[in-house]
Symmetry: C2
Subunit: 303 residues, 2 copies
Amino acid sequence: MTEILPSWRPGATRDALLTFLEKAATVPVVDRVAYFDNDGTLWCERPTYVQFDFFVDALRQRVGQDPAVAERAEFAALLGGDPTAIEALGLPRIAGALAGLFEGQTPQEFAGAVREFMARAEHRTLGRPLRTLLYRPMLELIEELRRLDFTVGIVTGGGAEFLRAVSQDLYAVPPELVVGSQIGYRLTTDASGAPELRRTAALDGVVNEGAAKVSHIQSELGRRPLLAAGNSGGDREMLEWAAAGPGGLALLVDHDDADREFAYRSMGVTVDEAEAITVVAERQGWTVSSMARDWTVVFGAHD
Amino acid sequence: MTEILPSWRPGATRDALLTFLEKAATVPVVDRVAYFDNDGTLWCERPTYVQFDFFVDALRQRVGQDPAVAERAEFAALLGGDPTAIEALGLPRIAGALAGLFEGQTPQEFAGAVREFMARAEHRTLGRPLRTLLYRPMLELIEELRRLDFTVGIVTGGGAEFLRAVSQDLYAVPPELVVGSQIGYRLTTDASGAPELRRTAALDGVVNEGAAKVSHIQSELGRRPLLAAGNSGGDREMLEWAAAGPGGLALLVDHDDADREFAYRSMGVTVDEAEAITVVAERQGWTVSSMARDWTVVFGAHD
């Protein structure tokens, strides 16, 4: 028999996962549902979010075509890499300006741009293609869940369309099982009069973080998770919701491995700004996966 | 070889479906996506919507517990079956009052009530269980699509949660592949402090009809349909969108069979109020499935 979860070191965390999987095999298939956060849970999110890198790359291309674009305050701050100017403007305003770069694109055009970027983009410091910086142990967990006929989805604070463009290739997760922050669309017609969707520059609804992850799971996916995995304060409510269900498991990835990845602690974004999510995890009895302690490899063949 | 689509009579409509299926087999699997409207496309919607019957049934139960409920104007009009009073109040106001009956329920409680109803409810005039009034030829089409690895979803103007409660059992469509009008939720905590979702009485966003079906497909499912099927003006934009794509097929169910089901024409709800959807279909060259002409059986074993 091939050993399951081979990249997880023997110990309490691996045991907790094995116990969960064993019990899950007795749960009705309809309730075998697992949702994963993406940034920092399935792929590397430091020093910058992958989607942020994509946005900045698109901005640089735009500036190459039209240098005047660089003069806009939000873009000047970004391109100058000036943390003070960025903080003064605020991330929501900068994100809004970046989203505006894609206004008027069709979903196909946007997905094509994401795929083109992900096919070539390198990590800023690790010197490897971004698309290879997936956590091998988490992929093994997904594989085991699927072996048990789990429905596996991704619930990200990032853009739904951004992740959907690559979720099938990277994770074998189809677009309908990706929930994220959602850009608005307008229905228009092309030159021949055929209907066509075009991106707006505004979000449709709220950012998919915190409590919104829970209500969006219900409204878009329709089932409560038996397992939820995350790594940040924005995942807290989703993890609490999974843990509170019968047989539910909340899995928190703790980034404590400066040698192989990054060491950082996420603070709460919604409930208690001052409390690290690892402290919440301990108090609530979640399963914590320490990168340094529990993972024999981080990125698999690419470590 | 077993004949495919056995309940479809030989003719232009069946030929169009066979040609579509043959071509679809050469399309990348990721693009093999089919979405079906539900009311009047997969199951019988006359003389009243199934969800309306469920609402009225729930109202009667509520009145049984608390007769004063019947005095509310919207409920009095409904229970009295007075078309003039119903029209004067307007369906949105009445639907809002009915949705209020379930305010505060958890998604599990609501789904349980739907399943309990669907397990016992009979059609008003056909004398058969509502759950058996599915169109056999459409189920055969779904079966063929699945044989070709299509992703099959349902896009309904009715409540998403209502249909999701039975979509797996009736159609083998999981909840994440059902898009409908969406009730709002609030995240609260139960007596033990665990997180819990509760229904509000208000819709989250707009009713899933017309152009909204297209933008909701994009935002919730993330892929354009290669095949879309509908029967009413509220399906027009979705059908136009499918038909406009490369190799796309728009299939319209024409209710022209008063003997076996009902004969009625749906008028447009969004673009042209005065035009029957069958006229739009003819002008746009959609594939029209006449119940009387194209289907050897309507409800299968239950005809």
